[in-house]
């Protein structure tokens, strides 16, 4: 069941209110820096970023559904496409491509050529093991959970680690009926 008239990401992005990407990038950078200072352990930082992302995801989904009249798509495939083509575009102004579907269509990859989070980021030796963009995986996870898709989101490729792109693998764990989001940290 294809959504009625899914507006293209670009169209929406053109209409939504926007801010300078640099402010966004630098602010995110400041956040990561703070986390590194506070938590000290890179692993902890990854966790925290993912958590933040999750918090965002579960709130962001409504706006997404509202702005792009993507009618709630039940099909995981459609959802993935929507995220990649519309979601990323309307929020970050970049488009992702969906690839590497597995046989039973429960796992795919969102591939980003570039994303505004990482301008001029270079991992120093002290930060090896940091998933700088981990917030994105959280967002995707959170958002999908709100359309009742429990997923596992992991980084396959990370340009900061010398890969040629950012690849998020999204694995559909189970498609649960309506379920309210829990906030495990508070």
């Amino acid at each position: 069941m294809a959504p009625a008239a899914p507006r293209s990401g670009d169209a929406i992005f053109a209409n939504v209110e926007r801010v300078n990407a640099e402010l966004f990038t630098l602010t995110y950078g400041a956040i990561v820096r703070q986390l590194l200072t506070d938590l000290e352990e890179v692993e902890e930082v990854n966790k925290q970023l993912d958590q933040m992302g999750y918090n965002i995801g579960i709130r962001l989904i409504d706006e997404f559904l509202a702005k792009s009249n993507v009618s709630r798509c039940v099909d995981f495939k459609e959802t993935a496409e929507a995220i990649a083509k519309v979601g990323f575009k309307m929020f970050l102004g970049v488009t992702a491509s969906v690839t590497n579907w597995d046989a039973d269509g429960t796992s795919c990859s969102l591939v980003l050529e570039d994303n505004p989070l990482v301008d001029f980021v270079e991992l120093p030796d002290t930060c090896q093991g940091l998933y700088y963009c981990n917030i994105l995986s959280g967002v995707v996870r959170g958002a999908l959970e709100m359309v009742s898709m429990k997923t596992e989101v992991t980084w396959i490729r990370d340009m900061l680690r010398g890969d040629d792109a950012y690849e998020l693998q999204v694995k559909l764990l189970k498609q649960v009926p309506e379920e309210y989001p829990y906030k495990d940290d508070e």
């Binding site: 820096r33 200072t37 506070d38 000290e40 120093p124 002290t126």
Partner: protein, 1202 residues
């Protein structure tokens, strides 16, 4: 070149000041100081000494405003080849300083001085001052004329005045000399040469040239003298002519000189006031001066002599003149230019002077890095000359640079303040802001810093200053070890050792070397934790104040380091404390710390030093201990370390900052991390306050180590001994319980404790505590879990479940040491926590309890069997109870026991010890209120003990008949009917609940009278909780046990009846039979009179119809029916009678048995219009339903006749 030159220098009269004869240094210093005070003498003051011989050449000398300037050259100076060129370079006067006491012979003095003056041909005036002369010297001196002036001993002030006049005199005579000189110079003129004028070839035109130039040079020189004479205007006049002439003759060098002079004259004239115009003028002219000096550079004799030094001096002079922040740019340019000159200077010492001057000027300009740079150049020049003095100067110069390079020793306290001032900034926010962290490590320019420190080290070694060397090496090693190769590190270590060998033992140094020391933690002894704030107002002084230490609750504890800073510690005078610190040795050598101890400035703490050895690249956590010595606050900024032969203080704060920087990647490395030590949040020293000595109780369980092991329900005493280990008596002590299973503590001998107060130091008291083991079943789930965890044994010695004795105790309110008013705050109390570790073992256990009933029919006889219920009768109590003792077990065959019930308890003993159990029943008739002798009734029935071996089980029978109530009386029965109300619909007025409760109450009452005690081994005994079991067992049939039937029936043979029978047949037979009958047997074919006794057990009259049945063995009715085997007389059925309350009614009848055998008589009654009580008792539901009542069966044995 000359040091410290300024534009004004050319106006200064040089005076050589030389000691004459031996002069002790301190006096020399003193005298010269007196002299140096008078370096400017205003003309006005010297007029008195001045006498104008001929017309003074200084026509417009400013007598009122002008002055002469002196430049005293202590120890004199060699005459300069440039004297002719700049007259101010000449030594124009010589002053001798003589300490008369040390040189008695004044003539000798005079000669010496004269000799000395020979060295200064240019000197126009010579004076020798003789200080504190003896009387002889005085008078001898007064005789002589000449230039020996004696300063008669007198107070300082007069001496000063004397000195003043003397100098003025000198000034005057100099002035007169100048006049002479000038006059003759103008007339005669002199040949003025400088080293520049080549001596070599005096070719003809050279000579002519010289002649031409002479005039100009003379004018210039005259100008110089005018300046010296303090007459700028005259000077200026001469200079201008000189300039004119010099320009004409192309005598650039002298031109420049004259120009310099003119500028000086200008300044003198303006009395040093500076306005922009003047400044501009000076700048302009001096640039000329410089350029002309440069012009005057002559190639051919360049290698021998060059005007360069003058050019540089001029530059420096100008620079000094302009040296202000606003003009920094120009000054810098000048100085830079001057610096460039350095390499082309021929004389090394000139270069030295140049750099010194440049450094100074930069310094005054506020360019400290520049200054440092040139100072370092100077130092290097010094180091090039291989001698101790040079080395010392080098060291001193380098020391000046340390500030700029941020490597200064702590001895110069500026750096010392650094940590402290940033201290708070991050102590508050846990994490520091990045930028502020950065600024913390401002200017860590390690490359330079290491070089400088190395140079300082080297120079101080050369200069033979071991302390300086040590400190430099220490700073190097501590700050830059990561950049130094292990070999280098070793080198520094040896450097430290070597220099320490030259130091007196116990030398302190402000700069710490190794190891790195950080605060690790404050381990808290329980004694410290359990200090309780004392509230003298209230009796329970500890109430409301939690013990200090880790128990304080801080609302904002986000795990940030700052909450440790909030923490407060209380230490007690005289009680040792411990602090853990971590040491790190990140270097490649074994570090031997001779001693390390906490450094406490508050001076009320005795720290115990210890000795540590740190292998290469290792860290250690060590415990430092000490004893607070006096009340107050203790602050522990760091540790005092004796290492590498020197004592240093290591501040925790510094290391904290260091680690901070390391965390931010701003410092080279984290010494602890690189020793493989984990990172830990930097602990800040807590607020430590020391309180006066307190008593200190220590407890131990007598004879018991570890947990007290008890069987379920066991009761035992344990003895706890308390000893006062403190130095103050315990004056108050209160024991309270806390923790789980508090009821396990039956009693604590509070009084014993109270009685021994005050408990003197060293005294000890032992108090018994009676414990009762709780039921394993009843322990709460969490330790039940623990139980399962700890296996089947069920040992629960976990602190979790054991009760705890809390003993709050205090010393005297004001401690003897100080008067109460300053100890206004009451010394705190203390809390001793004595956990009573109880471990309960499963003991004797009740398997189950059952109710058994036994029915044995009674045998008929002449007299009724004593109804058991009568036992409760108040008559002849004792005997009855005695008889009962065995009656409980034996059963009277005649009486039988109908509806008798037994409680059977089955017990098992899973333990490995033998248990002896004894059941006892308390005979207390609580229901019989009107019975006066209730308490007497509270006698106990002992049962013989039963022994249960290990792993066996046994049964105990308890007859319950004694609980039967005598009367089915209202008072009790109302209660009972309530109890039963549930079943009878009419008693709805009673709520189920209460009725149930009542029932339970009565049951409890019953149960509580049955006790089952056990004993095992010597001292372990207890009571088995069987209540529940019994309750369960009784619940159903409790009514039957408690309540008697409303009616009881008893049969007996009536005697008279027997007699009557005897009449019937032969008397002798009857005689024979009587005993037989007495045995309760009956003869067949014989009329046997009997009677039935009906007793009313209630309080009301009972109307009823009753009948008697007789059955044979087969149970067939043998009275009625066709083949009846028994004939009868009297009424057997439908007998109606009324029995008054608690009365018996007799009904007689006779039976005639046809067949011998066994018969059974039973009486049964139907009660007419029964009352509630009866209904209730009978549990009848409806009101009209008849109520039956049936007596126990009676056996009759019928014997056949022959």
């Amino acid at each position: 070149m000359e040091p410290d030159v300024s534009i004004e220098t050319s106006s200064m009269i040089r005076v050589a000041v030389i000691p004459v004869g031996p002069v002790p240094p301190n006096h020399l210093r003193d005298y010269s100081a007196m002299l140096l005070r008078h370096c400017t003498i205003s003309l006005s003051t010297i007029s008195s000494f001045y006498t104008e011989h001929q017309k003074s050449p200084f026509s417009n000398q400013p007598w009122d405003s002008g002055s002469l300037r002196f430049k005293f050259m202590l120890g004199g100076s060699p005459s300069s080849p440039w004297e002719d060129f700049q007259s101010n370079r000449k030594i124009l006067a010589v002053i001798g300083l003589c300490h008369c006491p040390s040189s008695p012979d004044l003539d000798a003095v005079v000669d010496q001085f004269a000799a000395a003056c020979k060295g200064y041909p240019s000197a126009l005036v010579q004076r020798c001052f003789g200080f504190c002369p003896g009387d002889s010297q005085l008078e001898d001196g007064s005789k002589r004329e000449g230039n020996l002036i004696l300063f008669p001993p007198s107070d300082r002030q007069t001496q000063e005045f004397h000195m003043n006049t003397m100098v003025q005199d000198i000034a005057a005579s100099l002035l007169m000399e100048f006049e002479k000189w000038v006059l003759q110079a103008e007339s005669a003129g002199t040949i003025l040469k400088t080293p520049l004028d080549s001596q070599a070839s005096l070719s003809s035109e050279e000579v002519i040239k010289a002649k031409k130039r002479r005039l100009g040079r003379a004018q210039k020189t005259i100008g110089d003298y005018c300046l010296l004479a303090g007459s700028p205007v005259d000077a200026n006049a001469h200079y201008s002519t000189a300039l004119e002439l010099a320009r004409l003759t192309g005598d650039y060098f002298w031109y420049a000189g004259a120009l310099e002079g003119s500028v000086c004259a200008l300044l003198i004239d303006r009395m040093g006031q500076k306005d922009p115009i003047l400044e501009g003028e000076v700048k302009y002219r001096y640039n000329d001066v410089i350029s002309y000096y440069r012009k005057s550079f002559i190639q051919d004799n360049a290698q021998r002599v060059s005007p360069l030094s003058f050019e540089l001096e001029a530059t420096l002079k100008l620079a000094r003149f302009l040296c202000r922040r606003e003009l920094a740019k120009e000054v810098v340019e000048l100085l830079t230019a001057a610096a460039d000159g350095a390499k082309s200077l021929i004389d090394a010492s000139d270069r030295l002077i140049l750099y010194v001057e440049i450094a100074r000027l930069f310094g005054t300009l506020g360019y400290h890095r520049k200054a440092a740079f040139f100072s370092r150049q100077v130092a290097q020049l010094y180091l090039q000359q291989e001698n101790g003095l040079a080395a010392i100067s080098a060291m001193q110069v380098l020391a000046m640079t340390t500030k700029a390079y941020r490597v200064q020793s702590r001895a110069s306290d500026s750096k010392h303040s650094l940590p402290s001032e940033i201290g708070p900034s991050y102590a508050d926010g846990g994490k520091m802001h990045h930028h502020s962290v950065v600024s913390l490590f401002e200017s860590q320019w390690s490359t330079l810093q290491m070089v400088v420190l190395r140079e300082i080290l080297m120079s101080s070694v050369r200069a033979g200053d071991p302390l300086a060397a040590w400190s430099a090496a220490a700073r190097l090693l501590r700050c830059y070890y990561p950049l130094i190769t292990p070999a280098g590190q070793n080198g520094l270590a040896t450097a430290l050792k070597n220099s320490s060998e030259r130091l007196p033992s116990g030398t302190r140094c402000a700069d710490p070397a190794l190891p790195f020391i950080r605060l690790h933690s404050f381990p808290l002894q329980p004694s410290q934790m359990d200090i309780v704030k004392r509230n003298p107002a209230r009796e329970d002084w500890w109430a409301g104040s939690a013990p200090s230490g880790p128990f304080i609750y801080t609302p904002f504890s986000k795990g940030e380091p700052n909450d440790t800073s909030k923490q407060e510690l209380i230490w007690i005078v005289g009680e040792p404390v411990q602090v853990l610190v971590e040491l790190a040795n990140p270097c490649g050598f074994d570090l031997m710390v001779e001693s390390i101890y906490l450094s406490v400035h508050s001076g009320n703490f005795d720290a115990f030093p210890i000795r540590v050895n740190l292998p290469p690249n290792s860290s250690k956590v060590i415990t430092l201990s000490g004893i607070p010595t006096s009340v107050g606050h203790v602050t522990i900024p760091g540790c005092t370390v004796h290492c590498f032969g020197v004592i240093t203080e290591h501040l925790f704060k510094d290391v904290d900052n260091l680690l901070h920087g390391a965390a931010q990647g701003l410092v080279l490395s984290d010494p602890f991390r690189c020793c493989g030590s984990a990172k830990l949040r930097n602990v800040s020293v807590p607020q430590i306050s020391v309180v006066p000595p307190l008593p200190l109780l220590v407890s131990r369980i007598v004879g018991g180590v570890g947990a007290v092991i008890l069987y379920e329900g066991e009761i035992r005493d344990v003895w706890i001994s308390l000893a006062n280990a403190g130095t103050v008596p315990v004056e108050q002590a209160h024991i309270s319980l806390s923790g789980k299973n508090q009821d396990a503590v039956i009693s604590v001998a509070y009084e014993t404790l109270k009685s021994v107060l005050p408990l003197k130091p060293g005294a000890e008291v032992t108090l018994p505590v009676t414990l009762k083991a709780w039921q394993l079943g009843l322990v709460d789930p969490d330790n039940a879990a623990g139980k399962s965890a700890s296996g089947s044994t069920g040992r629960q010695s976990k602190d979790g479940i054991s009760p705890i004795l809390l003993i709050h105790y205090t010393g005297p309110l004001t401690n003897p040491g100080e008067p109460p008013e300053n100890g206004s705050s009451v010394p705190p109390g203390r809390r001793l926590v004595v956990p009573l570790h109880i471990c309960v073992l499963q003991g004797l256990s009740l398997v189950k309890a059952r109710l058994l009933s036994m029915e044995i029919p009674a045998h008929i006889g002449e007299n009724l069997p004593k109804p058991v219920r009568l036992d409760n009768g108040s008559t002849e109590e004792v005997t009855i109870s005695e008889s009962k003792a065995d009656g409980l077990v034996k059963i009277d065959p005649f009486r039988g026991s109908w509806g008798l019930r037994f409680l059977e308890l089955e017990l098992s003993n899973p333990t490995d010890v033998v248990f002896e159990i004894s059941v006892s029943v308390q005979l207390e008739n609580s229901s019989d209120v009107d019975n006066p002798s209730v308490d007497q009734d509270a006698a106990e029935l002992g049962y013989p003990k039963t022994r249960i071996d290990r792993d066996y089980s046994a049964r105990v029978l308890i007859p319950l008949e004694h609980f039967k109530l005598p009367v089915l009386d209202g008072s009790f029965f109302v209660k009972d009917s309530q109890a039963d109300g549930t079943s009878s619909g009419r008693t709805l007025s009673f709520s189920d609940k209460t009725s149930k409760a009542e029932l339970n109450a009565s049951i409890k009452n019953l149960i509580s009278r049955i006790k089952l005690r056990w004993q095992s081994g010597r001292n372990s005994s207890g009571e088995l909780n069987i209540k529940d079991a019994i309750q369960a067992a009784l619940q159903t049939s409790v009514m039957d046990i408690l309540l008697p039937d409303p009616l009881t029936f008893g049969f007996k043979l009536s005697k008279n009846g027997a007699g009557h029978a005897a009449k019937l047949d032969s008397p002798k037979e009857s005689n024979v039979q009587v005993p037989s009958t007495s045995k309760g047997s009956v003869l067949a074919h014989d009329m046997t009179p009997m009677e039935v006794l009906v007793r009313n057990n209630t309080m009301e009259m009972i109307k009823m119809r009753f009948s008697i049945r007789c059955r044979d063995v087969a149970g067939a009715n043998c009275v009625e029916g066709d083949k009846a085997t028994v004939l009868w007389a009297g009424v057997l059925s439908g007998v109606t009678m009324e029995v008054p309350p608690l009365q018996e009614v007799k009904h007689s009848f006779s039976l005639y048995f046809l067949v011998p055998g066994e018969y059974t008589l039973v009486a049964a009654a139907v009660i007419d219009d029964p009352n509630d009580i009866l209904r209730a008792r009978a549990r009848s539901v409806s009101s009209n339903e008849p109520i039956f009542c049936r007596g126990p069966p009676f056996h009759v044995r019928v014997i056949g006749t022959a």
